[in-house]
Amino acid sequence: MSGVRVRCRLFARYAEVVGREEVVLELPPDAVVADAVAALRARVPGGELLPARPLVAVNLQQVLPGDRLHDGDELALLPPLAGG
């Protein structure tokens, strides 16, 4: 069974610390949200500066670290919110 490909988006300060706004990750088929965050922190230069448990959205909905990922998902790491 093939893995899942996830498009990861980074915003504001998180985009600044890694110097990019988008990363595509290839993950194992049973990957969960926490696996994607761990992969970003391990594989992307500067990724170690990202928090281990950031706020995450998948396909525009906030999710939990244990939620499963699916091929084609758009995952977003959300810095502390500051709207208004």
Partner: protein, 147 residues
């Protein structure tokens, strides 16, 4: 109706979107860029967002308010990009038959927006320095000076 704009907010258009002869109570909330008491005078704030999620989340909040206060209509918008001192970054208009629903719905929408919208702000101070700012009031980290 779009929930984000990169142009100055037009309060009259928001109010017009909710007003009707059946609704005698109308409110308008404007959140404006303030000088800031802490680290120096703020001259503008740069707002960025996860645009698609901002649209879906703001739409959900408005629907929640209109469901919770039946008969109430809500219009809301967040401005992105550079917002100068004194100009509005967010606006919420409500209209309801009576004032309690109009006021409560408006309060609900702005409070939920502050908690749920994927928006980030970087304050630009008079000395040219810049800092990300979160809604807990913390200066998150210093960024490079503005271009």
């Amino acid at each position: 109706m779009a929930f984000l704009t990169r142009a100055p907010i037009r309060p009259d258009e928001l109010l017009a979107a909710v007003q009707s002869p059946e609704r005698g109570a109308n409110t308008l909330f404007l959140g404006t860029v303030r000088r800031g008491p802490d680290d120096g005078p703020v001259v503008r704030i740069e707002y960025t967002a996860y645009d698609a999620m901002l649209e879906s989340e703001f739409a959900a909040i408005v629907t929640e308010a209109e469901t919770r206060w039946p008969g109430t209509r809500v219009a809301a918008v967040h401005r992105l990009g550079d917002v100068p001192l004194g100009e509005a970054s967010i606006a919420v208009a409500t209209a309801a038959p009576h004032r309690t629903a109009a006021l409560d719905a408006g309060r609900y929408v702005i409070e939920q927006a502050k908690q749920r919208l994927p928006v980030w702000k970087r304050e630009i101070l008079a000395d040219g320095s810049a800092a990300w700012r979160d809604n807990a009031g913390g200066r998150v980290a210093s960024g490079p000076p503005p271009r």
